[in-house]
Symmetry: C2
Subunit: 151 residues, 2 copies
DNA sequence: TTTGAAAGTTAGACAAT
DNA sequence: ATTGTCTAACTTTCAAA
């Protein structure tokens, strides 16, 4: 991860579909060099993929919530099982397994509040391992699109 | 958003760097048609961008946490100001403005626990509007890479 | 809207440095 | 590791259906 790698990672986070030539020109290196670098970053697992980002509203899912869930018993099996269950559901965008008061934080997006309620009642509260949960409506969500090394 | 648009959005979330020809072949349409569709989705704001995803560990940021922050007063100005402050900091990956007990949930990634502590003490607890916060270490974070319409 | 064909551009491989 | 060159593949435009 020298300066060049850092710049490539930054640029491809900004726009993953720019051409290799364009990227090379930005960095002031030959396209073939650039291609080699990008391949290296991909192979070393620094770059893990290339994804289109979408507008949840356009997909008919304007209502987002964060669910703080407590489960018991706190065994590896139960945690993995519940996590696996969560990620199978289309409503779920993101699952955080956390320390502290809560065990899971689950980011969901649905069509409306009724569907959120239905999700909580029909898919969550019925689970044996779920002993408690709170749901918080998300008013705004901002994600930084370029992640860099620190310092 | 007909069936074709849905498929394009799905495919480009899976792999944003596949060629237009490849995508067209998958969908069974002509490349020129495919290009037109993709442009449409981009212009209509359904697809908001194309981003490389990165491995936080490779960027030297293996320690993640979720910070639940309460701020006062809860005015639009203070909320926007605090949010703007958060997103300027490289440690911050994501900011959720939420209803309920907490006002903000902040996803951060840093190099080690010392730096997490330093962040909390030096950048967060000093702020006038922050009346309380809890930090939870994230053991695991799984994000679904393909977001679809529901039902 | 969708398409095929044409023209211009790019990706990817490779030998040389 | 980086580069220029080469060929095959690709993108993009546009006239026609």
């Amino acid at each position: 991860m020298d300066e060049l790698d850092t710049a490539i990672v930054r640029e491809l986070q900004r726009d993953a579909r720019q051409t290799n030539r364009e990227l090379a020109r930005t960095l002031g290196i030959a396209p073939s060099t650039c291609l080699e670098r990008v391949r290296g970053l991909r192979n070393r697992g620094v770059i893990t993929g290339y994804r289109a980002t979408v507008d949840l509203r356009s997909l008919g899912r304007p209502v987002q919530a964060l669910l703080a869930v407590r489960i018991r018993p706190l065994s590896r099996e139960v945690i993995e099982g519940f996590k696996a269950y969560l990620v199978t559901m289309d409503e779920v965008l993101s699952v955080y397994v956390v320390a502290g008061g809560d065990d899971f934080l689950v980011h969901v997006a649905v069509g409306d509040v009724d569907r959120l309620h239905a999700f909580l009642m029909d898919r969550l509260s019925g689970r044996k391992e779920v002993v408690d949960f709170r749901s918080s409506i998300i008013y705004q969500h901002v994600a930084s699109d370029v992640i860099t090394e620190l310092d």
